[in-house]
Symmetry: C2
Subunit: 401 residues, 2 copies
């Protein structure tokens, strides 16, 4: 048996992430490796921190990419902030809230759940009621941008409710960062994690995180050691510390992936954060117009929709998996399935980062209409592309990509 | 302030890892991304498993790359196999044994330490004595290839001692895999972890691991849940499971890094495992001849030396950090410093994977002699390169790289 090199097929990624990667980023990733303690690498890391602070809109000193995927970023927040016996209020309105609860349990904490229907944002009043009933709670955790449903919760209001009850706030913005408004300092978030393979359009495997001075103080004054050596921020701070201090070896950083993330952040800075948010909003409007012209509807109510992740209801009687297979095989187009109670009921169409552009919107509408037509699905035909074109025409927005 | 793209300087990496990456691997890493549940990606993963089984010389079904660096591979082994209250015998003869002990503590286990001088292999008799004194121990952990000293311990004998006392065995071969003999099944190892940035010459950020059926059984029958959600093998097995089963989403795999690892393993298979081990041995002989001709000596006694990591004693009165700075600045050559009690006393010169070749051996001897000469260090001059050439001439080995 021989083992040839692997050559991936050409795809267009419009699922819930990973998203397509800009060729500039692929080029950066394939530059020759240097040591993780090399002065040139350390200089790059210092810049990375400033660029991440920009992306998160924060001045938090402890802002860095965890050397593992988003779920490790989540675990970094919980393992460092939860102590055994702590009461932690977790708001659940999708898969990732459930995972937060699991993290609390594994860290020895006691989760107190605020439950919300999937597809609905977290209700600040419910959080307030729960906190009133649990005065010993020390932490509140919720998802800003739920990747499983495409719903956006109001981080600023939820954080205010939590702070009024003396709780620190942990926020999941894996799908949020770079795609829609994130303002860590203005919103008063204490710990936040993201992923690189969503709206930053980087390779998966890194998790940008940021911690407020209050969170750092709590981590420094823990009664019990952090249960994970690999994710212990007290140790990691020694490596990703301030620019002039000596870098203490903790683990070998994923060097090429960090080249890639640096380039993604340079691209984000070149475009401008608010411009990137506006671009996501714009192409979402075009996609939505096309989908609605086809007679399809979105799961999430208008004011709470994430532009970068569109949960589309599967029409009655349609085999959603067969549609995805057709899209992949005939158009090289990947869209996502529903998870948990939404499995079989929705598709998740991502418009993330580099993949958020006219070309992808038009391909998706064209391919979806063609496949659904062939399956005799109950849709309106012949209007979707025109509806999207009207959005593009009306605004006169020039697609940069 | 502007943020330009990062262009790393050209280096030759002869430290303790990362090592230089083959251009074929850099090219693989920069191929366009596809989804982590794409059928083409799943097919690549199935092949990856077979290739990793070859590299580890094992038929263990549970053989996969953890989506994070070697220290996370270590933590995967301990977090899954140690239960609160377990007695775990840890053999310490360098930095990574110390880190193992720390892992045991953080998992709620009780470490029982077998201590050895740094630079010495673990003594099977000491292990036997310790196990005799602690009949309740359930696990024995030690390092095969100590990256901090370059010493190799006898895994097969140590494993036999452990098994005779009913203990499972956890082995660190971060620096071993691909560079010198590793035979997981023949040696009777129950859990083993490696890194990708050493003798596999891949990008850092992945940790190949393998678990025996006995280890899997113990993991499946744990009394307490694994404290890490991200590293819980009971969950990860659902994604990296058998080829035909449906892949359950756990976390987003680091896709491009996995392209790279696949290509490294294809290269290893093309060369042949035993041929790769022989190549490391061969260039080590040449480097050693040159170093000794310069009057330098190695820390580790002959029979226990790792060819891929050469710990060289710093001559009396030489500022070792200044030497490394000169090598880096004038020759673009990175070698490693000593750690812990060996800081300032040794250099660590790696001959790892793609970086283990004639060109690097000759550059290193030339540059080191030039820098030491300029510093008036007490060395023999003018013989090092000739000594290495004699090794190459005598064997007639043709350098493939």
């Amino acid at each position: 048996m021989t083992y040839p090199s692997f050559h991936p097929p050409v795809r267009t990624l419009m699922g819930p992430g990973p998203s397509d990667i800009n060729p500039r980023v692929l080029a950066a990733m394939s530059r020759p490796i240097i040591g993780h303690l090399d002065p040139a690498f350390v200089g790059m890391m210092d810049q990375m921190k400033v660029l991440l602070q920009y992306a998160f809109q924060t001045e938090n000193e402890l802002t860095l990419p965890v050397s593992a995927p988003g779920s490790a970023g989540m675990e970094t927040c919980f393992a460092n902030l939860v102590e055994p016996g702590d009461e932690v209020v977790v708001c659940i309105n999708g898969v990732f809230g459930m995972r937060m609860k699991e993290n609390v349990i594994r860290c020895g904490g006691t989760p107190i759940v605020v439950e919300e229907e999937w597809g609905q944002p977290v209700d600040p009043q419910k959080l307030e009621n729960t906190l009133a009933a649990h005065p010993d709670a020390r932490l509140v955790a919720f998802v800003h941008a739920e990747t499983s449903t495409g719903v956006c919760s109001d981080v600023k209001t939820l954080s205010q409710v939590a702070h009024a009850r003396n709780c620190l706030v942990i926020v999941d913005t894996v799908t949020g960062l770079g795609g829609s408004e994130v303002r860590v300092d203005d919103w008063g978030v204490d710990a936040i994690y993201s992923g690189t393979q969503k709206c930053l359009s980087c390779t998966p495997g890194l998790s940008p995180v940021s911690f407020s001075p209050r969170a750092v103080e709590r981590i420094r004054n823990r009664k019990h050691p952090v249960q994970s050596w690999f994710l212990d921020l007290n140790l990691i701070m020694g490596y990703w510390g301030s620019g002039n201090a000596k870098r203490a070896y903790h683990h070998t950083a994923p060097i090429n992936a960090l080249y890639a993330l640096h380039e993604c952040l340079v691209l984000l800075r070149e475009e401008g954060l608010e411009e990137a948010w506006a671009r996501h909003r714009h192409h979402h409007e075009a996609l939505k117009a096309g989908l609605e012209a086809m007679g399809l509807s979105l799961l999430v109510d208008e004011p709470h929709r994430l532009p970068q992740l569109n949960a589309v209801k599967v029409p009655e009687g349609v085999d959603e998996a067969a549609v995805r297979t057709q899209l992949l095989e005939r158009y090289g187009l990947e869209i996502g399935a529903g998870l948990g109670p939404l499995a079989g009921k929705i598709w998740r169409i991502g418009l993330m980062g580099f993949g958020c552009n006219q070309r992808n919107v038009l391909l998706c509408l064209h391919a979806l209409e063609a496949v659904l037509t062939e399956m005799n699905a109950p849709i309106e035909r012949g209007h979707a592309i025109r509806a999207a074109q009207r959005v593009y025409g009306e605004t006169g927005h020039r697609d940069e990509v």
